[in-house]
């Protein structure tokens, strides 16, 4: 850095050339993900969706007419959008206090909170729902508590209705908002709230005028992930809701696997896609996606003050409640795993290690765990690289292109996994890719890359481009600038994105059903086999082992990483 670079006003021709080459670089960076999605998502899905326009091998609109003429499909479509919207709102509202709490406590407590946030991911969807069902049942512990304390006279029906669906889905999807929101809070200058406070602003007004604008990129990214995901969801609503909460993805799945009416499934999927695109457009019109995300400069993180406003204290209480909500099912799962009964009775009548022994004695569980970890790690690397480069590229493009590519990269999230799974089977099975895990890695990367993309996009938006330009202007090469300026600022989001990618792969059942065989099946697939048609309590022990492993990693980090954290 000793040689001073002359900062001369560059001639316009040079500027244009530079912009041109930058554009080319941008396209080049976005290209891998575009090509990947075209090959392994758009192509296969399009050939599947084409079936919607055929009936009895002839071009026809019969499938769509059937959808219009049969009331159940309209009911289910409205259900789907309502539930997805409600869950999104719930996730955002509950995440704010929790993310605030995480960002303002000491590193030790923050790590414990992190653990609570990530916990729901480590127990498969089926185990989570089993735990909720045990906890929330008519004679479950929660109702027992409420009736004993005298809050209610009659047990509340939490399950098999709208409440059940909201609890189950918010629980699973909330981390997708908490993590980007946490990154936003960390990036926020604590001095700003302090300044507002000292100038006499009240909590609510600080929230509205300081916190909300500064955290909006993270929230919007998280909310989009939740909504898109919720629209294509079905295992949780199907188990915790009733017939009045049925969602489109379930009908699509039923039509593919049970009725084998692929034309109708494709028609439903087309309608779902259309509804998703319309919702995105509406969201854009109502809230102005771009205005909301407009880059707020990041001045680096000063620790937020210890002095809390009354509103801040209230948020802390709410944040603790949110964390408890996330951990609650685990409180049930752990004792249940030590039961000896073949039925998920809570509390268990008898304790023992029966199901743990079963897990360790049967090699299939350990094999499946190994296979899941392998697939998960490979998918994380692919998805992180593809998603990050695409986000870096898109960031440098014109806003028209940005909008198109954003939509292109986001939409795959809301396509029910069963559809992509079947379509990919047709593409990859002839290569023998199903038996060597290549197919499932491709499928999971399709699912996971959009998460990384959105997370990094949001982070880049709130990154101060002046820092970048300053570094480049001072003669740093792009890689040096990236390493010294962008990477540190992006790191929390990068880790968040990678975690999303990993858990997306690690938790997927639906694709694994189609894209693996008995020899390379993943842990969730094995768990599904144990729980879908039967109830094998080994599944609960398996989840507890995963939770324990996560806890150990966390403890290890607390013990060894402490110095690093404290010097920061």
């Amino acid at each position: 850095m000793s040689t001073a670079v002359p900062l001369m006003p560059a001639p316009t021709a040079v500027m244009r050339a530079r912009r041109h080459s930058r554009n080319k670089m941008a396209v080049l960076a976005a290209l891998p993900l575009i090509v990947f999605l075209l090959l392994f998502f758009i192509g296969p899905i399009a050939s599947f969706l084409r079936e919607a326009f055929y009936a009895d091998d002839q071009l026809s609109l019969a499938n769509f007419q059937h959808l219009v003429n049969t009331p159940i499909y309209r009911i289910v479509l409205v259900n789907t959008l309502t539930i997805a919207a409600a869950v999104t709102v719930a996730c955002v509202v509950i995440s704010y206090p929790l993310a605030y709490l995480m960002a303002t406590v000491g590193p030790r407590v923050a790590q414990i909170l992190f653990f609570a946030v990530l916990l729901p991911f480590w127990s498969s969807a089926l185990v989570r729902t089993t735990a909720w069902i045990a906890l929330l049942g008519k004679n479950g512990p929660l109702n027992a508590l409420l009736t004993t304390v005298g809050v209610v006279d009659e047990p509340i029906a939490f399950l098999y209705n709208f409440t059940g669906v909201m609890i189950g889905m918010t629980h699973v999807l909330m981390p997708f908002v908490v993590l980007p929101l946490y990154a936003a809070f960390r990036g926020m200058d604590g001095a700003l709230t302090q300044a507002a406070q000292s100038l006499g602003a009240r909590s609510l007004s600080i929230f509205r005028h300081v916190v909300l604008p500064l955290t909006s990129p993270g929230v919007v990214a998280g909310a989009i992930i939740v909504f898109m995901n919720a629209v294509g969801y079905y295992i949780t609503p199907s188990l915790m809701g009733g017939p009045a909460q049925r969602m489109v993805a379930e009908l699509i799945s039923d039509n593919i696997t049970k009725e084998l009416n692929w034309g109708l499934a494709a028609a439903l999927a087309s309608v779902l896609l259309l509804a998703v695109i319309l919702s995105l457009w509406l969201f854009n019109r109502l809230f102005g996606l771009d205005k909301l995300i407009s880059g707020t400069s990041d001045k680096g993180s000063t620790a937020v003050s210890a002095q809390r406003t009354p509103g801040g204290r209230l948020s802390v209480v709410a944040g603790i409640c949110a964390a408890v909500f996330l951990i609650l099912p685990i409180i049930v799962v752990v004792p249940m795993s030590f039961g000896t009964s073949e039925f998920p009775i809570f509390p268990p009548p008898e304790y023992g290690l029966r199901w743990y022994t079963n897990f360790l004695e049967d090699s299939k569980w350990v094999n499946a765990l190994w296979s899941s970890l392998k697939v998960g790690l490979i998918v994380t690397v692919f998805a992180t690289v593809l998603g990050t480069t695409a986000a870096l590229g898109v960031e440098k493009m014109s806003s028209r292109r940005k909008t198109w590519l954003d939509a292109f990269f986001i939409v795959p999230m809301s396509v029910p996994a069963i559809l992509t799974g079947v379509a990919l089977f047709y593409l990859t099975a002839p290569w023998g890719a199903v038996s060597n895990s290549v197919a499932v890695v491709i499928g999971h990367t399709v699912l996971a890359a959009p998460y990384v993309y959105i997370t990094i996009r949001a982070a880049l938006r709130s990154l101060d481009t002046n820092l970048e330009l300053a570094a480049l202007g001072l003669g740093a090469s792009w890689p040096t600038m990236f390493r010294l300026v962008m990477l540190p600022a992006l790191l929390p989001s990068l880790i968040g994105g990678a975690v999303f990618a990993f858990v997306t792969s690690f938790d997927d059942v639906v694709m694994a059903l189609f894209l693996t065989t008995v020899r390379n099946r993943t842990l969730p697939k094995l768990m599904y086999e144990g729980i879908a048609h039967d109830f094998d309590p080994t599944v609960i022990s398996a989840s507890c082992i995963l939770i324990a492993a996560t806890a150990l990693i966390l403890l290890g980090r607390l013990a060894f990483g402490n110095k690093k954290v404290s010097t920061k």
Partner: protein
């Protein structure tokens, strides 16, 4: 260097012999639905079959008809014998994914006539019936016995659970409404009959706390007290009773279903598959199955080989069979999609 090469070539040779060896030894790729059901199949049939014939059996799970179709379409058929219920079998037949089983391949003369099928060898019979909580309806007091009792919420108050799919539930609904079991499908063949069944669903709907999706749920819901009465499968209730859960079931009204073993079209080990089907349908093998799960044999010749205590737990006793209605898988293949839509619609409101 040359030593290393030598080592590698030896390794390759060994690997080649192993792979050739296993290709020569006969194999069977079998897929079923996991859990207690597949465990029972393994213990009673797969293991002894393998021992007797030397054929190596590879087990897989989730033989969804959709996946079989995809395998056939992409010429990657991995399974020989799969197990399906009547509805899935009929669906698969319509799609042409199963091979027709002729008398030359498997002799089924001794099989219960109501259970026979051109495209599948019947493996077991299981019943949908009324199960209830002994805490709510203790012995010595009034207990629900029939489908009509299940629908009678004044006489037997409390929440219920029924299957989220219409097959067996619709049949039970009509029987509860006074239709004779033998007339159920005649009534259902008319639009008025379907309306009548749907009205029955509408009637019971407010009292159904859980619409169950997997066979373990009815017992779980009875055990947790979420419901007091369930329409569920006898084998599951029996497993609950055996684990000392205070429940009981009644055989007065039943809808029987048959499980089938089918041969996948283009099966890589077709001969082994046929051998296995022949093995599984022998009376001796049929009698063996109910040792591991409370489902009944598909041939009356097996009854004599089962002791009395065990037969009490099974749907296949002559008098139980006489009163039973067998699920008509052909009817469901024809009308299943429409009825499911109606069923979902009635319950969604």
């Amino acid at each position: 260097m040359s030593k290393k090469l030598q080592k590698i070539s030896t390794l390759l040779c060994v690997a080649a012999t192993i792979s050739v060896g296993s290709a020569q030894g006969a194999e069977l790729n079998f897929a079923s639905w996991g859990g207690a059901y597949q465990n029972a199949i393994r213990e009673s049939w797969l293991k002894p079959f393998s021992k007797e014939t030397g054929i190596k059996v590879n087990e897989d799970t989730e033989p969804q008809v959709a996946k079989i179709r995809a395998m056939i379409d992409t010429q990657t058929v991995a399974w020989d014998v799969v197990t399906e219920n009547g509805a899935r079998l009929a669906k698969g037949v319509k799609l042409g994914v199963f091979e027709k089983i002729t008398p030359d391949m498997v002799n089924q003369d001794h099989v219960i006539p109501g259970a026979r099928h051109d495209y599948g060898v019947p493996s077991e019979i299981f019943s949908t019936l009324v199960g209830y909580s002994l805490k709510e309806f203790p012995n010595g007091k009034l207990q629900p016995k029939t489908f009509a009792d299940f629908w009678n919420v004044e006489k037997f108050p409390g929440k219920r659970t029924m299957q989220d799919e219409p097959s067996t539930v619709i049949e039970a609904a009509l029987i509860a409404d006074g239709v004779a079991p033998t007339d159920v499908y005649k009534v259902l063949a008319t639009p008025a009959g379907v309306d009548r069944a749907m009205k029955q669903i509408e009637k019971i709907k407010p009292y159904v706390a859980v619409w169950w999706k997997n066979g373990a749920e009815p017992v779980n819901a009875l055990a947790s007290g979420e419901v007091v009465m369930a329409l569920g499968w006898n084998g599951r209730f029996q497993a609950g009773i055996d684990s000392k859960i205070p429940i009981k079931m009644s055989w007065d009204n039943v809808v029987n279903q048959v499980g089938y073993f089918a041969l996948v079209k283009g099966a890589p080990n077709r001969d082994s598959g046929i051998k296995f089907l022949n093995y599984m349908i022998q009376p001796k093998a049929q009698a063996e199955f109910s040792k591991y799960i409370a489902y009944g044999p598909t041939t009356e010749k097996a009854i004599a080989l089962i002791d009395e205590a065990r037969i009490e737990r099974l749907p296949s006793t002559p008098e139980r069979l006489k009163a039973a209605l067998f699920l008509d898988s052909e009817f469901w293949e024809q009308n299943g999609a429409t009825l499911t839509e109606r069923y979902n619609q009635v319950r969604a409101r």
